[in-house]
């Protein structure tokens, strides 16, 4: 593929390996090459994945079948599916499932809608366009701990900006952490702020792949910019939207740092005094690392993995449909 013309690279090899001296060894080598060398090329990724991806998942699966104390490794007792049986009847677990899915909706929907609008604005002629396009990514590269701490200040009861603004219009100060919906909204704001720019850039990339002629034709027909967004951009972006929706939903199942640092009592992993914003990931951490029930925590982790698989499967089916219809429309 690299040599000039179609010169056989084998010609430069040792005489013993010359093709005209075809031997059983050589033929074997050829076949081995065709069959095995691709695997060697992809091996580095898979070796790393097996070591740092697959093994921990499977080992967690094993731990979830045992009763094991965090600080006493090696003293586990095999209990079969007991952890799972207990988990299925655990109200606190289902509470975290509910919270996780509620937060998923509260985070993903506004985030993707805002990202779309933002991408549309960035796609028009603007001054400092490159600066702005890079700027929307800033929230995403900011340290998540810093983000959560700043937002905890913004939503602070006595000295927070949000309550101050509400006070100006005559609303009493809100203890954001204590309510069901106030706490979840505040967490959703954090997540949306962090991920909107990232998704906007993905949309922007997809928008630039849409043929300009479509927009020009629409402009000739006097379609305004928002009408163009609705009738040209959106249909063309369908596969991209499905992709970003899938990725952000999967990301939300692991929501951890924001609710952890948002909690009023420092280091608390119960997600508020009544577990009003405890997510599955926080619950797993509480059981495994705070209360030391490593086996139970591992069972939570495995149920999270299964839910992610289901979500990914649904997402895959939806994406395929979206791509199919987009292809048919083009």
């Amino acid at each position: 593929m690299a040599g000039p013309g179609r010169q056989d690279p084998a010609a430069r090899l040792h005489p013993a390996l010359q093709p005209n001296r075809t031997s059983a060894v050589r033929r074997l080598l050829w076949r081995a090459d065709g069959r095995f060398s691709p695997y060697i090329y992809v091996a580095p990724f898979f070796l790393l994945f097996i070591g740092f991806g697959l093994f921990p998942i499977l080992y967690t699966g094993y731990v979830s079948l045992t009763n094991r104390d965090l600080l006493r490794p090696g003293f586990e007792t095999y209990t079969g599916l007991a952890n799972y049986r207990e988990l299925v009847g655990d109200d606190y677990f289902w509470n975290t499932v509910k919270n996780t899915f509620l937060l998923m909706g509260m985070c993903a929907v506004p985030q993707l809608v805002l990202a779309l609008v933002l991408a549309h604005i960035l796609n028009t002629r603007l001054r400092f366009r490159t600066v702005l396009r890079m700027g929307v990514l800033l929230p995403n590269v900011t340290s998540i701990v810093a983000v959560a701490l700043v937002f905890a200040q913004i939503f602070s009861r006595d000295f927070g900006v949000v309550n101050w603004v509400l006070g100006v219009v005559g609303v009493d100060p809100i203890t954001w952490q204590s309510g069901d919906w106030t706490s979840r909204s505040a967490i959703a704001v954090m997540v949306v702020w962090r991920w909107t720019g990232y998704n906007a850039l993905i949309y922007l990339g997809a928008m630039q792949a849409i043929p300009k002629e479509l927009f020009e034709a629409a402009a000739l027909d006097r379609a305004g910019t928002w009408r163009q967004l609705w009738h040209i951009t959106l249909p063309a972006l369908r596969p991209t939207i499905a992709f970003t929706a899938l990725v952000s939903l999967i990301g939300q199942t692991q929501l951890f740092t924001e609710p952890l640092l948002f909690d009023t009592s420092p280091g608390s992993v119960s997600g508020g005094s009544a577990r009003q914003f405890q997510t599955m990931a926080l619950f797993m951490y509480e059981e495994g690392f705070r209360l030391g029930h490593l086996g139970y925590g591992a069972a939570v982790a495995w149920l999270m993995i299964l839910m992610t698989f289901v979500l990914a499967g649904i997402g895959y089916a939806v994406t395929r449909r979206a791509v199919g219809t987009a292809g048919a429309a083009a």
Binding site: M1, D8, P9, A10, L13, L17, P19, L29, W30, R31, A32, D33, G34, F36, S37, P38, I40, Y41, L70, L71, R72, P73, Y92, A152, Q153, S156, R157, D158, F159, T175, S178, T264, S265, P266, G267, S268, S270, S273, A274, F289, R290, L291, G292, H293
Partner: protein, 453 residues
């Protein structure tokens, strides 16, 4: 795509083989130890063989870096400098974290078998849980800690002793004798006495304390009477002889202990009367409230003085300290421990022994307020006379000294910390108006049982 022309792929075979050889070589060098590997492994030794000018010199004393992880305000900075001067080969690196973060980091590092510091501070709230796993820590008796036993109050020495009495995992730093810190300026505004003796006379019991709060509230100073309901609750519970566990057993008695229920009920009364600032202890709003004078009193274990001084230095002279309502009690106080995974345990022990020696405990008390746990330090004449200008020259040595003498140790079971958190969450739920007191107490009992599993 790449499979259809196997004949053209000699280069690929060659490359693949080379890759395989490289992998195998890398695998071998670990066990076989090729020469190239050795020189990179032991970079410091290599010059000796390659550069002839390096003469065999007497090895300098090995430079040892000791790490120490703690939380809050231990007040050790000047002591490190002194120790490093007398031990030139020792370098001390301290890392301070927030209380809960510090302890959960420690637990995770112990579980992972690596990452813990050479010396780790452990507070009373986590000690019961961690000393149930003594194999994770160095046995300080092996380093000769036995001779220090006579220095310590029995409850402090036993507090970090393993259940079988054979392993001592910590050296005591301080005890958290109880007092009540109050703002003289706010008391004056509310036309209450400001002199510590008169203030102490206001609240011989916690009931009287709450009554005083109702009077304070009626005076409409704009400040709350106390910071957080959990601190009022904990102040009472730490005075009980038994709290969440039947002493000496692993039986959880949250639901059967009348002392806990009484403390809960009085706390509920104070919340209903609107005496609480509804703050959450250790949280940024709470720290700001210190600075702004948003509350008039706070349950003050000795170490709380350090927090106030560090977070609200501008309030110097506005505070004073009175006796705590009820009996004497202990809240908190720490130990220095040496994780078994540490590489310099002997050096770490020497440093820990220096930091916790009676003479150093006296100095720490005078600087930040943490009250000594060593008897010779408690009895030190300079402590009895000590007055702290930050607290209006309150005789803090006398106040905390008396409460340390009268201390009755409380038995704490393995899951004391998580159980306490479960009950505190219950108090916060009522404070936030999420639940009625009875409903919340029922849930707290359930949560406590769950935490104790």
């Amino acid at each position: 795509m790449f499979m259809d022309a196997p004949r053209k792929n000699f280069m690929a075979v060659a490359f693949g083989l080379a890759l395989a050889v490289a992998f195998a070589g890398a695998g071998c060098s670990k066990t076989g130890g090729s020469s190239a590997d050795q020189s990179s492994d032991k970079g410091a030794v290599a010059p000796k063989t390659t550069a002839p000018k390096a003469e065999p010199a007497p090895p300098p004393p090995e430079k040892i870096k000791l790490t120490i992880n703690d939380f809050g305000v231990f007040g050790y900075k000047p002591l490190y400098a002194e120790y490093q001067q007398s031990h030139p080969n020792i370098e001390i690196v301290e890392s301070v974290n927030e209380y809960n973060t510090h302890h959960s980091n420690l637990i995770n590092h112990l579980a992972a078998g690596g990452g813990a510091a050479d010396i780790e501070a452990i507070d009373e709230g986590f000690m019961a849980q961690l000393k149930a796993r003594p194999e994770q820590f160095a046995n300080l008796l092996d380093f000769g800690a036995g001779e220090l036993e006579k220095n310590y109050a029995a409850f402090k020495w036993n507090g970090s002793l393993s259940a079988d009495g054979k392993k001592q995992i910590g050296l005591g730093t301080d005890v958290g004798g109880l007092a009540m810190c109050y703002r003289t300026d706010l008391f004056e505004k509310a036309k209450l006495p400001t002199d510590p003796t008169a203030v102490s006379a206001l609240w011989p019991t916690w009931d009287k304390y709450v009554e005083t709060g109702i009077k304070f509230k009626a005076a409409k100073t704009g400040a709350a009477f106390f910071d957080a309901a959990t601190n009022l609750y904990n102040g009472q519970v730490f005075q009980l002889e038994k709290s969440y566990y039947e002493p000496g057993t692993s039986d959880v008695i949250v639901d059967k202990n009348p002392g806990v229920k009484a403390a809960w009920d009085l706390t509920m009364k104070a919340i209903a009367q609107g005496l609480s600032g509804k703050l959450v202890a250790w949280q940024p709003d709470w720290v700001t409230a210190f600075q702004k004078g948003s509350f008039a009193t706070i349950t003050c274990p000795a170490w709380m003085q350090g927090y106030i001084k560090e977070h609200a230095p501008g309030t110097a002279g506005k505070w004073n300290i009175a006796a705590v309502p009820g009996a004497a009690g202990n809240w908190g106080g720490s130990w220095l421990t040496i994780p078994a995974q540490g590489k310099h345990q002997k050096e770490a022990y020497e440093l820990a022994a220096f930091l916790t020696a009676p003479a150093q405990q006296v100095r720490v008390f005078k600087a930040v307020g943490n009250f000594p746990s060593a008897i010779p330090a408690m009895q030190d004449a300079s402590i009895a006379d000590f007055k702290d200008p930050f607290f209006n020259n309150a005789p803090t040595g006398k106040i905390f000294g008396e409460s340390a003498v009268n201390l009755k140790p409380q038995f704490q079971g393995e899951k004391h910390g998580p159980i306490r958190k479960a009950v505190e969450d219950g108090i916060t739920r009522v404070e936030q108006g999420r639940q009625k007191p009875d409903e919340s107490f029922a849930q707290a009992i359930k949560d406590a049982a769950r935490a104790a599993r």
